[in-house]
């Protein structure tokens, strides 16, 4: 084993941190504007009901209450805009009907937060409760329709294998059916739930809107990952030009996809601010957050695999019903489609996917870290393990045998119909097996088993699609067109060397802890040689930044980072011309090193950035026609999404008496192409794994059959704590992407996509001697214990 370096920056400590560790970070709820009012919402206790009356008179009579708005006041603004308007769009406030528990029925605006809450309690709403639809099969049957004006609860069906080619898909289905008929094949099938999750950023969402009369302009602070989308949506809703809305995302306390949305509350406080002429703030409480901010996942499906006895998979099918909740928001119906992109994983076998997306009387689902990809990879990597067990083969070898071979890259075509950028799956698997000592781990497990302990090993490969994206994907909805901004998911970056020789970088991303100020300074410093501490990066402000798409889908470095890199190159080219002129040297001899500008081979000829910048801003000193200033902007559209991949391994021990699962070791070998800052990349993987482990072991958004959310508080919805998680052992292989000039791939979601089934595979492996074949997540002690009991009495598998 050898090691080489492909780190573009280094583990530079973050620029963001000094303010944050001193409590000086500014989050939306920290901001106060003069005359600011507070909003609070009246929410439905029922999942499905007709609203028969709303009486706000008592609330309005309270001193300091400025307004109570209902659907009557905001109906003219239309439903909440969604980028993928498939299914029923959400009314800004419930209009005649409520369709999920906690749906906002009225908005109160008052002088203080406490008063607004008191006034909420004083609004009287009468409901006529109706039977709710919660169960996914029940919803798909259309026994009860969530929305009378839709033909069916099934709003769309995504089918692939490959996507968009009916003939080839028929051929895939035929091949799989044939393979099942053969008597030398093994067919393994499992019904599995990929449960609904509540994203739970620790900062609840908050928005502060300020209509500025005379300026005729909105200034909005929001805890959002997508400031430009929000600015567009507000402008379009109120019939304003997009440049009449400034959205600022200051510090954002975690997003994980839940803040990748335009929310009704953001539109409503804007409306109230305009109507009342005062700034209006709304901060959701933790208790209302699961009813107000999107949830994620929610698949009920069957995975079936057919293969030979020596590990050659001949076909894989997944049919699932996917829970969209009551209304479609930003990307709701597109999320399972992200699962389609990776439905066949890293493998070459024929794959058929069919996903029915249904409305239910529950909160909307949308992007939660991984978004469709963890679900798809979960089914695939779980069933592969069951197949490996059925034929008695090492699960790692089953995977190796079916990988798309390295010689098909770049541009290998996945069976679901998408071209991958770069990959070398076997290299990564081998690195994981050798580095973490797979054979030793197996021996250790076997020794433990011989001692009567229930120790298991789980392994999962994964491939992810991220870094959206290519301009051509606009046709699939990858654009902010529905918000009035028909821009492809380009990256953009602006690099300016200021007259004092410092640099300013402005990007259109909306990070929520990813450290863009640090990483972007590294990208620019590497190009220009200006020290990182002389480079300031700003983001998340639509008034300052070039058109930006936002931070989600592990896209920022691969797309906006690449754009910034290109902009820095343009600045460098111009700087080289100026330097050549000033130093009377050839342009190609100019070197940007050690924080200054030098001439190759002439150590005495050099300039500081201050010297050069000063000249750049005095055009009369420049060569004819060069023009003043030293800044450049670049818009970057990648040639493909990026497709990171990897292998994760977990070793767990189960206590059969209690059902407790203890993670003994967690090991990850990821490949996200080149790495800019390994410290930040590792941090992203840590957090990603933690969320996957959370799904595997703890988290579950459970609705009862009446549509009440039973796990809406942090007591019932336990997030992993420090005491629940192990240290993570991380290493990486490097297969640079060819879709962007930095060779980077996204890494924000990989850990989540890889980890849930790694844990479940390990637990099932631990319990296989007891006859357990599968346990649905979350693997809480009671469920594990029950599975053991059932297996022992012959009821499982």
């Amino acid at each position: 084993m050898t090691t080489t370096t492909s780190v573009l920056g280094g583990a530079v400590r973050r620029r963001e941190d000094p303010a944050l560790v001193q409590g000086r970070g500014r989050y939306v709820d920290d901001i106060k504007l003069p005359g600011m009012l507070h909003a609070a919402f009246v929410r439905s206790p029922y999942a499905r009901a007709r609203i028969t009356s709303i009486d706000a008179s008592a609330a309005l009579a309270m001193e300091g209450v400025h307004a109570v708005y209902t659907a009557d006041d905001v109906r003219h603004l239309g439903p909440l805009l969604a980028q993928v308007p498939v299914g029923k769009l959400r009314p800004l406030l419930a209009d005649g009907m409520v369709n999920h528990a906690g749906e906002a029925v009225a908005m109160v605006v008052a002088e203080s937060r406490y008063l607004a809450q008191d006034a909420v309690d004083a609004v009287v709403v009468d409901y006529e409760p109706l039977e709710a639809v919660v169960d996914l099969r029940d919803a798909a049957s259309d026994r009860i329709k969530v929305h009378d004006d839709l033909d069916s609860n099934v709003i769309i069906t995504w089918e692939a294998g490959p996507f968009g080619n009916e003939e080839a898909m028929a051929e895939t289905k035929r091949k799989i059916a044939e393979a099942k008929q053969r008597d030398d094949t093994v067919v393994v099938s499992l019904d599995m739930v990929n449960q609904r999750l509540i994203p739970t950023a620790i900062e609840p969402r908050a928005v502060l809107a300020n209509w500025m009369p005379g300026y005729e302009r909105f200034e909005v602070y929001s805890s959002t990952q997508v400031p430009h989308a929000l600015a567009g949506a507000i402008a379009k809703t109120f019939g304003l030009a997009s440049n009449a809305v400034r959205v600022v995302a200051p510090e954002v306390g975690g997003g994980f996809g839940a803040k990748l949305n335009v929310y009704a509350d953001e539109i409503l406080v804007s409306f109230a601010s305009k109507a009342l002429g005062r700034p209006v703030k709304y901060t959701e409480t933790r208790r209302e957050s699961p009813h107000n901010t999107i949830q994620g996942r929610g698949w009920l499906g069957t995975a079936t695999i057919v293969g030979t006895r020596d590990g050659e998979v001949l076909g894989y099918e997944i049919h699932a019903i996917c829970d969209m909740g009551a209304y479609s928001q930003n990307f709701t119906a597109a999320i399972p489609f992200l699962g389609v992109f990776v439905g066949s994983g890293q493998y070459k076998f024929p794959t058929h996917m069919k996903l029915d997306l249904v409305h239910t009387n529950t909160m909307t689902t949308d992007a939660y870290r991984g978004a469709g990809r963890p679900e798809a990879i979960y089914y695939l990597e779980r069933i592969l393990d069951e197949y490996a067990a059925a034929i008695g083969m090492d699960p790692a070898e089953v995977r190796r045998k079916n990988y798309i071979p390295a010689d098909q890259f770049p541009g290998a075509m996945a069976p679901v119909g998408f071209a991958l950028d770069t990959g070398d799956y076997e290299k990564n698997l081998d690195a994981a097996l050798r580095f973490f000592g797979w054979e030793d781990l197996k021996a250790e497990r076997d020794r433990a088993r011989a001692e009567g302990r229930y120790v298991g090993l789980g392994l999962s490969s994964y491939v992810e699609v991220c870094g959206f994206g290519p301009s051509a994907l606009v046709d699939l909805g990858f654009s902010w067109s529905e918000y009035g901004l028909p821009s492809a998911f380009n990256g953009s970056g602006l690099v300016r060397v200021n007259p004092d020789g410092t640099a300013t970088v402005i990007i259109g991303t909306g990070p929520s802890g990813q450290g863009h100020q640090t990483t972007w300074a590294q990208i620019v410093s590497r190009e220009l040689g200006i020290p990182e501490d002389r480079i300031r990066v700003t983001h998340g402000d639509t008034a300052e930044s070039p058109m930006g798409i936002g931070t989600f889908g592990s896209r920022s470095a691969a797309v906006d980072g690449a754009a910034t890199y290109e902009a820095a190159q343009k600045v460098r080219e111009k700087a080289a011309r100026i330097a050549a002129h000033l130093l009377e040297a050839a342009e190609e001899d100019i070197r940007f090193e050690n924080g200054g500008i030098h001439v190759a081979g002439s150590p005495d000829k050099s300039l500081t950035w201050e010297d050069l910048a000063k000249t750049a801003y005095q055009p009369h000193l420049l060569p004819e026609g060069l023009g003043g200033g030293l800044e450049a902007h670049s818009v970057f559209s990648p040639s493909n999404a990026t497709w990171p991949f990897g292998t994760h391994i977990a070793m767990v021990e189960v206590d059969p008496e209690t059902g407790d699962v203890d993670i003994l070791r967690y090991m990850a070998m990821d490949d996200c192409g080149n790495v800019i800052n390994p410290m930040i990349v590792n941090g992203q993987i840590h957090g990603g794994i933690a969320q996957g482990v959370g799904q595997a072991l703890f988290e579950d958004a459970i609705y009862d059959s009446d549509g009440n959310l039973l796990t809406g508080s942090l007591v019932d919805y336990p997030l992993p704590t420090a005491a629940d998680l192990p240290n993570f052992e991380l290493r990486r292989t490097v297969t640079p992407s060819d879709a962007n000039p930095l060779g980077v791939k996204g890494i924000g979601e990989a850990g989540t996509i890889a980890s849930a089934q790694t844990i479940v595979n390990a637990v099932v492996d631990a319990l296989r001697p007891l006859g357990v074949r599968h346990i649905d997540m979350p693997l809480r002690p009671k469920r594990v214990w029950q599975a053991i009991q059932d297996a022992q009495s012959g009821r499982n598998g």
């Binding site: 050898t2 560790v21 409590g23 070998m669 420090a722």
Partner: protein
């Protein structure tokens, strides 16, 4: 009601509604927005402060109950611009991403290190069990606290554990 207390070494008197939570008093009345709110129901720990030297979740206490107390918030930790070793540890070991849980996490770590000079990893993990972080998976928070503990004992902190190198086979 009238209350007097000390906040970050400064004497403060104020008139507060009896139902005002300490966290709201700190944030809204005193402008100390470093103390965050993640749940208001005592589960997340984002609001952790020191009250008379002990860690307390400031959403579980009314401001009036702090009458006469001495409170330290995250803003009060640094000494003349010099970061507290715990703050330094979080910076040095990438113990934060979005930074929202961080003030509470830091205050809990300060509380722990006041009691134990050399906590084991297990003790660290249990000491911050009441502080939720959704970003970091806690791995680097534990490293950050180990860093601070070493610093406060006057020892060289353990090196960071991220790798610059890839693995090739």
């Amino acid at each position: 009601m009238k209350i007097s207390l000390t906040i970050n070494g400064r004497e403060v008197s104020a008139d507060v509604e009896p139902r005002t939570l300490l966290v709201h008093f700190l944030r809204e009345d005193q402008g100390l927005t470093g103390t965050h709110i993640g749940c208001e129901t005592s589960y997340c720990g984002a609001c952790t402060v020191l009250v008379d030297g002990k860690t307390v979740k400031s959403c579980t206490m009314f401001a009036v109950q702090a009458d006469g107390a001495s409170i330290t918030t995250v803003e009060g930790l640094a000494d003349n611009g010099q970061l507290h070793p715990v703050q330094e540890g979080f910076w040095e070991r990438h113990g934060l991403q979005c930074g929202y849980c961080t003030p509470g996490m830091i205050m809990s770590a300060v509380g722990l290190l006041q009691e134990k000079q050399s906590p084991s990893e297990d003790e660290i993990r249990h000491a911050i069990e009441g502080n939720l972080c959704r970003c970091t998976g806690y791995h680097n928070i534990v490293r950050a606290i180990e860093y601070a503990a070493a610093k406060m004992r006057g020892e060289e902190p353990p090196p960071p554990d991220w790798e610059e190198e890839e693995v090739s086979v």
